[in-house]
């Protein structure tokens, strides 16, 4: 089990900078993120886009801001658990919190700071009425092991890189692969598009364009999808598996079940110290809400800075906290 002072859920810009502010007060941090890399939205959604409202930077690319933040917090040696979703949060007997991740890692800390941004990124599920019924019996949103499709009929839907790449891989493994897409052009990498077209010409991938899957059928296991294609009557298409690949969308996820006060998918906090309704749990950055809230990185930095002052008093109720400027005191990292 990992033990730390502040457990930060979310390794986006706000979570990262909080490590710095906590470090100045001699508190150690451990970050957990469902994504496989630090940076949150900055790296996942727009790494190459410029941000113009970071004080002191007339313009900085999102990916570079993450790099700089990681460098800035290096002296405070944060721990990272990446690629694991924060799943369960329990109170321990000694008044701490124990977090268990989706992969079973446990982290214990007296203070939890939720810097979860928009939530965790999960595959977008098509809004097909009975889709839940076929999960694990014909529908997969993520391909874990392509071998399970050997000799089977597979329908892939989507128009991006993952839909193209998996169609190419499955063309060699599955008995039959159909790729359903809402228009005729694909947005993926040019050579993937060319490969798919080539395989389609060879009859190894059946391309069904200007079409979408709108229904599912089958007794227990999926046996066919219903396809709505321009200029045709809706029809059944026989298949053993349906793999919708429509990218990732953020969801609040398990955080919503921890007993925190939630309003419009955000955690309600007290702006005095960004504390939630549960003492010891704070929420900072895009995931919190309060009157006048603005979802800006710079506001998140401010929130994290005030929050660690309160976290210090929560952890060390009997100690006096003296405030020092970095210019005077310097940055004294951990050994």
């Amino acid at each position: 089990m990992v033990e730390t002072d502040i457990l930060i859920i979310g390794a986006g810009p706000v979570g990262l900078f909080t490590v710095f502010e906590a470090g100045l007060l001699k508190m150690r941090c451990h970050l957990v993120d469902s994504l496989g890399q630090a940076g949150g939205q900055l790296n996942e959604i727009y790494p190459k886009k410029p941000i113009y409202d970071i004080p002191g930077y007339p313009s900085i690319l999102a990916g570079n801001l993450t790099e700089n933040l990681l460098k800035q917090i290096e002296p405070f040696k944060p721990g990272f658990t990446l690629g694991e979703r924060a799943e369960k949060l329990e109170k321990t007997e000694d008044n701490k919190f124990k977090l268990t991740t989706s992969k079973g890692t446990t982290i214990c800390a007296p203070v939890v700071a939720i810097a979860g941004g928009l939530g965790c990124f999960e595959p977008r599920k098509p809004p097909i009425a009975n889709i839940d019924q076929y999960e694990d019996c014909g529908i997969d949103y993520i391909i874990k092991d392509p071998e399970i499709y050997r000799g089977k009929k597979v329908v892939v839907a989507g128009g991006g890189d993952s839909a193209l790449d998996w169609s190419i891989i499955l063309a060699d493994i599955a008995d039959e692969v159909a790729l359903v897409h809402r228009r005729t052009s694909f947005r993926g990498a040019l050579d993937s598009v060319e490969k798919v077209m080539h395989l389609a010409n060879q009859g190894k991938i059946k391309l069904i364009t200007n079409a979408q899957v709108t229904g599912l059928a089958g007794e227990e296991h999926l046996t066919s999808v219903i396809i709505e294609e321009d200029g045709k009557e809706n029809y059944h298409y026989h298949t053993d598996h349906f793999i919708p690949l429509f990218g990732l969308a953020p969801k609040l996820g398990p955080i919503g079940e921890w007993g925190l006060e939630i309003e419009d998918n955000a955690i309600v906090v007290n702006t005095f110290d960004y504390s939630t309704n549960i003492p010891g749990i704070y929420a900072i950055g895009d995931i919190n809400t309060y009157p006048g809230k603005l979802k800006l990185i710079l506001c998140g930095f401010h929130e994290g800075t005030l929050m660690v002052q309160s976290a210090f008093k929560h952890i060390y109720p009997d100690q006096k906290l003296s405030f020092k400027y970095t210019t005077v005191a310097g940055v004294n990292g951990f050994e």
């Binding site: 959604i45 727009y46 886009k49 928009l118 977008r124 599920k125 098509p126 809004p127 097909i128 989507g158 128009g159 991006g160 897409h181 809402r182 228009r183 052009s185 947005r187 979408q212 429509f246 990218g247 969308a249 953020p250 969801k251 979802k295």
Partner: protein
């Protein structure tokens, strides 16, 4: 049209029409206008054509700028996409769209 204000009509998901006034001189887009009137438009990504949570249908025959490649790509990840689908964040508030009529696309599958 007075003082750079245009009117747009937004049909919400309950079929109710809302007449919204929008300024043409504040670099706004349809997603932002809907949000400022507290209509249920998420606009998660803040207008970068990166999330498709401001998906709407254009009902009037206004001549809108063509869809950009980014917008088409995002619509690939949306659901209930039709020929008149647009992302609200990519429709800029200009004099040309005075009287524009749009309908919010259903949510779901997110």
């Amino acid at each position: 049209m007075d003082n750079n204000i245009i009117k747009v009509i937004v049909t919400d998901r309950d079929g109710v029409d809302h007449v919204l006034e929008a300024p043409t001189d504040m670099a706004m887009n349809m997603m932002e206008v809907c949000k400022s009137y507290e209509l249920p438009v998420e606009g998660i990504c803040g207008g970068m054509a990166l999330c498709a949570s401001c998906h709407m249908y254009v009902l009037s025959d206004h001549d809108l700028p063509e869809l950009s490649e980014d917008e088409e790509n995002m619509l690939d990840q949306a659901f209930f996409v039709k020929a008149n689908s647009r992302l609200g964040c990519q429709i800029k508030i200009t004099e040309d769209i005075d009287g524009l009529k749009v309908q919010l696309a259903p949510v779901g599958g997110e």
